[in-house]
Symmetry: C3
Amino acid sequence: MSLGYIKTNALNHKTVHIVGKLPLAPMHCDERKYLIDGLQLITIMEKTSSDSLPLTVNSSEKHETVCIFGTGDFGRSLGLKMLQCGYSIVFGSRNPHMSSLLPSGAEVLSYSEAAQKSDVIIITVHREHYDFLTELIEVLNGKILVDVSNNLKINQYPESNAEYLAQLVPGARVVKAFNTISAWALQSGALDASRQVFVCGNDSKAKQRVMDIVRTLGLTPLDQGSLMAAKEIENYPLQLFPLWKFPFYLSAVLCAFLFFYCVIREVIYPYVHEKKDSTFRMAISIPNRVFPIAALTLLALVYLPGVIAAILQLYRGTKYRRFPDWLDHWMLCRKQLGLIALGFAFLHVIYTLVIPIRYYVRWMSRNMTITQATTKKENPFSTSTAWLNDSYISLGILGFFLFVLLGITSLPSVSNTVNWREFRFVQSKLGYLTLILCTAHTLVYGGKRFLSPSILRWYLPSAYVIALIIPCTVLVSKFILILPCIDRTLTRIRQGWERNSKSSKSALNGKTDI
Amino acid sequence: MSLGYIKTNALNHKTVHIVGKLPLAPMHCDERKYLIDGLQLITIMEKTSSDSLPLTVNSSEKHETVCIFGTGDFGRSLGLKMLQCGYSIVFGSRNPHMSSLLPSGAEVLSYSEAAQKSDVIIITVHREHYDFLTELIEVLNGKILVDVSNNLKINQYPESNAEYLAQLVPGARVVKAFNTISAWALQSGALDASRQVFVCGNDSKAKQRVMDIVRTLGLTPLDQGSLMAAKEIENYPLQLFPLWKFPFYLSAVLCAFLFFYCVIREVIYPYVHEKKDSTFRMAISIPNRVFPIAALTLLALVYLPGVIAAILQLYRGTKYRRFPDWLDHWMLCRKQLGLIALGFAFLHVIYTLVIPIRYYVRWMSRNMTITQATTKKENPFSTSTAWLNDSYISLGILGFFLFVLLGITSLPSVSNTVNWREFRFVQSKLGYLTLILCTAHTLVYGGKRFLSPSILRWYLPSAYVIALIIPCTVLVSKFILILPCIDRTLTRIRQGWERNSKSSKSALNGKTDI
Amino acid sequence: MSLGYIKTNALNHKTVHIVGKLPLAPMHCDERKYLIDGLQLITIMEKTSSDSLPLTVNSSEKHETVCIFGTGDFGRSLGLKMLQCGYSIVFGSRNPHMSSLLPSGAEVLSYSEAAQKSDVIIITVHREHYDFLTELIEVLNGKILVDVSNNLKINQYPESNAEYLAQLVPGARVVKAFNTISAWALQSGALDASRQVFVCGNDSKAKQRVMDIVRTLGLTPLDQGSLMAAKEIENYPLQLFPLWKFPFYLSAVLCAFLFFYCVIREVIYPYVHEKKDSTFRMAISIPNRVFPIAALTLLALVYLPGVIAAILQLYRGTKYRRFPDWLDHWMLCRKQLGLIALGFAFLHVIYTLVIPIRYYVRWMSRNMTITQATTKKENPFSTSTAWLNDSYISLGILGFFLFVLLGITSLPSVSNTVNWREFRFVQSKLGYLTLILCTAHTLVYGGKRFLSPSILRWYLPSAYVIALIIPCTVLVSKFILILPCIDRTLTRIRQGWERNSKSSKSALNGKTDI
Ligand SMILES: Cc1cc2nc3c(=O)[nH]c(=O)nc-3n(C[C@H](O)[C@H](O)[C@H](O)COP(=O)(O)OP(=O)(O)OC[C@H]3O[C@@H](n4cnc5c(N)ncnc54)[C@H](O)[C@@H]3O)c2cc1C
Ligand SMILES: Cc1cc2nc3c(=O)[nH]c(=O)nc-3n(C[C@H](O)[C@H](O)[C@H](O)COP(=O)(O)OP(=O)(O)OC[C@H]3O[C@@H](n4cnc5c(N)ncnc54)[C@H](O)[C@@H]3O)c2cc1C
Ligand SMILES: Cc1cc2nc3c(=O)[nH]c(=O)nc-3n(C[C@H](O)[C@H](O)[C@H](O)COP(=O)(O)OP(=O)(O)OC[C@H]3O[C@@H](n4cnc5c(N)ncnc54)[C@H](O)[C@@H]3O)c2cc1C
Ligand SMILES: NC(=O)c1ccc[n+]([C@@H]2O[C@H](COP(=O)([O-])OP(=O)(O)OC[C@H]3O[C@@H](n4cnc5c(N)ncnc54)[C@H](OP(=O)(O)O)[C@@H]3O)[C@@H](O)[C@H]2O)c1
Ligand SMILES: NC(=O)c1ccc[n+]([C@@H]2O[C@H](COP(=O)([O-])OP(=O)(O)OC[C@H]3O[C@@H](n4cnc5c(N)ncnc54)[C@H](OP(=O)(O)O)[C@@H]3O)[C@@H](O)[C@H]2O)c1
Ligand SMILES: NC(=O)c1ccc[n+]([C@@H]2O[C@H](COP(=O)([O-])OP(=O)(O)OC[C@H]3O[C@@H](n4cnc5c(N)ncnc54)[C@H](OP(=O)(O)O)[C@@H]3O)[C@@H](O)[C@H]2O)c1
């Protein structure tokens, strides 16, 4: 340890307890105040040294020296942050003299020298360059190596980077951490998604120490178990809403199809037959046909796989066989399907509520009134029309209300507070009720028009007729499934009973089915 | 350990690291890919064996053997899942030869033989059949017994199942876990409410080991402390929204009452007096009277218990005496009351916004215009009516806005990020502001009509008059309570001062009241 | 230990297992049932003693004796609660005989006597009175001291109370805890914000023990690391939405300005020029001008700092220099700005949707119809007006929809489940899309009117013209920044490259930019 370093380090220690005294942002150590500039640090230190206490020196002396391998973007950012939180930092670098960019207060040594300074070594080097570590095997023996690396693609290598590191340096205790944090997040400390640090490792002492560092930096460590979890942790930051992809594309295709269907019926058809320019309908009227249909269809598609699964279980007579892949996948993305359906329902509601504000609607209504006034035609009040009209509106509102409830319970913090039974109650029972209400809303809306052939244009039925196919199928099948005789068999299967097994115990008596 | 077993086990080990290499779902071990079928496992193994590494064998060897007692639904599901996550499983069974249904790769032995194979024994047997364990007391000595059992009713037995188990096998270290997870959730791994596993136990080492298993299975362990918590953990999955029951029934009764009240005034009365068929009003008009009244009344009922509690504390001169049971219970379900009120308010808003779309309203408005046009009656603009009308709408909107804010802050993840002072600020201060705005909305809506006796029908006042009783009472009482003289006494009482205590220190000076 | 005490304690032990048997509220020990009254306790005990089991005595004997220093409000509440959870409590007090107010079952001794009874001592005394502890240094040696104190002001003292305590009693192991819980919350156990207890300390064993106590009381301990975090933990309960202050005041000023601007143009101007009384516009029409403008401006202000930061980084050629303070602060409160903007947008939506219900609007529309009917003037349908009108409504709805999405992803529980990339995708990409949609909504709304000079009143342009300045600036600047040539440099800078550094490696090849 050079004398120069001792000075810097001492200076740094003093800084630490100042930082410890003036936290402003909701973080354990305020990284925002003393960035990089060594002189600035000293100034502040002298300003507050009057109230320095013996104890604080002690408390900061507790902080150990940590070694960081690699002086790239992430190494620098992490080193700076750790310095500010009271750690002494020793960088290991291929070129220990190129230290101009490094945070002041840190020492830079060669890799092997640096490794000797500390028990904990953070490897901020890309996996591709890990080879040089094999030369350090001896000095790294027993040390805690923290692997922070990410890859460019999901499952790029057969084994995770951390496992690869553990294999390269068998004597070391490898811990995976920090890979979900970006260099920028460490520097700016602002955005929200960045606080969680997944940690895993086979040595629980080593893991604990890394988790303590994470905590001191103001981040939230999450213990993910053994090093086997590293693969997943490494894939995590590369994902972009994987479960949303299928529902998203499905609904995009559905919307596009419905949009063109409606354009044909409501824009092209009138143009061809009556030379009427209805293109403006594409801004509100047609979206307001597409969205409710998409919402209802997607909602039905949420409950369809459950029905199929039940039929499959009944048919197979056991629940201990895997569903086909497509069904499995479909069941896994029901939440996402449901939430997209909710989005469409929300849009439908607003598009409906703006109807009376639209120029077209106001113009129509005024014209009708004037025509009626001038022609003096009677327009008697029809109670049945009022009933029909009010009913479908009311059904729609109630359906939407339950829909929103479903959405709220699927917020992670809400679903975490309910137990299994409650979750099933809301998602399954209320979910079906929502489906029933929304289907009824569409049925009553269609009303008597279903029967009249005049709704066909170029043999195309009105769009909401299409909307009803899947929901009605689902509801009818579900209705059959809950008939007592069928339901009883299904319940037994779900409790572990198997039709083809000779030794199947009638396990029904007195079981809690959660 | 039989030779056959060793083979299966080895096979299983190999499988494990393959599973470890290809995780797809966000779980530590992907249980979806290799269900049950032993042959399938081998196929996959051979496909990927090309990239097998020496290290992986090591890493999976770290996984211990776990014993599962009972080969029922839950035992099988858990065993399969654990096998997939790299554990070696030994089942204990009354009938070790009936192994056809069991996941391949697991060994099945008698209970006593199986117990010898492992330190950790998971008891997937119903509590009623625990007796056989007394015979195994010796072999179970010092072992970790995991109790997973649930009951059929809340508080079915005087002591929790886990405590009962600890008592049966005094030498064992009992840990409660897994009871909130259903067998199906383990197999399908899809639904959300299922990830949390409450763990409790008196031996913290044992608890740690079980929590590690939980984590490896991709679930979230939550340490709940000592075995005393087992009772609660066992009751948890049996609950169905216990705190929502009272608010729910209350609001159901309230709505039913208001509905009939309005039907009498607005449907039956006109029918009797004018032979007018207004039944269609039951679909929208009457609900849109019931919902706002229910919302306002429930909102007032949220703040009423606080007022009563304050009066009680003032009267008693101390805060160290329990409130009567009914008040206690009422105060505990205020959140639920408030959220139901918010639901009604939401419905009221949408029911109001659809007004101009309704056939009845459009028909009325058209008719009025035509009548006016033909009779050429003047209809001068009344600024005061415009003021009144716009004011109550504006008050309502602002009230609803704050209402929604209250709702958002009561989301668990939001309320966890605010401190006590902030929570009180929002819930108490903004809550009262909401109540004031909503009451004012109703008052201004009623406007001058309150004074006219014509609003009585069959001596029944208009429904919104009823709506105002409780809110006004609450607001007036609260206003009295915050008069400086009364408030001062109350503040002192809340800081621990007692009127009747001689030694009461004037504890007011310089205290933080959070 | 006096004989009297032993008896009380024994009684208490029995109570404990009863409490353990009858939990009703979702807490580990039900504090609601047995408040204060010793006699009541006995009654209940005898009622249920029939089913008492040998084991329960054992299990409660495991609970240790805890000492509480100070018999004030907090000490009493905590003691009572701990008694109910099975702990034996010894109070330390200046005046051990004034025990009338104390929970029955607890012993009261002098400070030094009490300290000898237990390893864990909770100091419920104000920091100002800590001096007496210096006299007890010897007896406190090696003990766990729990500091629960709060201050009156943020950063009142140079070092935290807990660190001060550690300095006063150097031999003790100090743990900070419980300060976020109020005495009332302990007694009533009802409100939500109160469950989290931040714990910190340098001795991890001591911390673990305190966390166990916290858990047993039914609260949620959160490990915050070493004692350095105490300062922040102590400041936490004193904060009142610190990050919301600036956004709140900014938007208040903005609203006030816009309100007066609109009043001048829309109320005073018509009054002066046409003697028309339009004051009623202040209830809805003017707010509905103010809110959307405020929403759009604030939304633009969310994205402006990012643009400024990028320009600054480009200009400086490095990302390793701190932004000026104002920019830093601005960037930290973007979330709050965005959520307030969302609030205004929400209000704008509802204020717009109620338009057709307003008396003024209905009156206007009726009058126009009648005028048209009587004058028999033609009013031909204009497709271009319909297009314009429908487009800006549709743009507005879609913008609002994305706005709500942004709001939902900023819920803590949702943002915790997305990774960095996903969060950036939603917040940055969808955020800009929202800004574009909302700006377009305003532009199309203005339509051709921008060009006509008639919109000037007293040389004041219409308010929405003002609304467009900042959004358009932001969008144009952002557009320039994403031009490939500029974007490339910026990306390099963000990956750690520095323009002025000679040793700057071209670090672009193969990097994961998260
Ligand atoms: C707005 C909205 C939000 C949503 N949010 C979520 C969410 O957050 N999380 C979520 O998971 N879903 C969510 N969904 C989707 C949906 O509501 C749920 O998946 C719902 O539980 C499906 O109910 P179900 O009865 O069809 O299916 P399930 O209850 O899953 O049953 C489907 C099939 O699985 C089999 N099965 C079920 N239980 C057992 C058992 N015990 N043993 C053996 N086999 C069994 C049966 O064959 C059954 O038919 C949401 C939907 C919407 C509309
Ligand atoms: C939409 C909505 C959502 C809601 N969400 C929630 C929620 O998530 N969680 C929740 O708890 N409530 C919730 N509520 C209910 C309600 O807003 C809160 O309970 C609110 O805090 C009640 O305020 P208060 O001032 O009446 O009662 P409190 O502040 O609880 O006071 C009630 C009485 O308790 C006594 N008291 C209070 N403080 C002390 C003290 N320090 N010392 C001694 N005695 C004291 C006094 O007698 C006081 O009058 C919600 C309400 C609504 C409408
Ligand atoms: C309704 C609503 C809710 C919101 N909720 C949240 C929320 O919960 N949390 C939140 O944080 N914000 C929230 N916001 C604010 C806003 O959406 C986000 O801050 C958003 O990420 C800003 O995007 P940006 O592209 O302007 O800024 P950023 O992505 O932060 O970029 C700003 C500047 O920082 C610099 N920079 C960024 N990344 C790097 C890097 N990797 N390396 C070097 N320099 C870099 C660049 O100079 C860049 O121009 C919310 C906004 C709204 C409207
Ligand atoms: N940047 C982020 O936001 C971020 C976030 C999470 C994780 N990570 C991970 O952190 C690691 C480093 O990322 P980075 O962005 O800091 O990368 P970088 O800027 O390219 O730095 C890599 C460093 O590795 C060192 N190194 C050692 N041997 C090397 C060799 N043969 N060739 C090149 N460099 C060598 C170099 O330091 P010396 O010159 O001093 O030897 C170099 O500065 C990566 O594994 C990355 O996945 C980065
Ligand atoms: N099913 C769930 O979803 C679920 C969820 C959480 C918790 N649990 C709990 O898990 C435990 C097992 O539930 P389960 O659904 O698996 O029950 P199950 O299907 O009825 O199986 C119970 C098993 O217990 C064994 N057993 C031992 N002695 C017995 C006896 N005298 N009589 C009958 N069986 C005896 C049997 O295995 P052998 O024949 O091999 O001896 C039997 O298979 C219960 O405590 C339950 O509360 C279940
Ligand atoms: N009240 C709350 O809601 C709350 C919440 C969180 C944290 N706290 C913290 O808990 C601590 C106690 O608060 P509190 O509300 O219980 O205060 P309090 O009612 O004023 O009680 C303070 C106690 O300190 C003891 N004490 C010892 N030396 C003293 C001295 N020289 N002068 C006065 N009292 C002395 C007294 O007990 P003896 O007479 O028995 O000696 C007195 O009862 C404070 O640090 C506070 O910040 C309170």
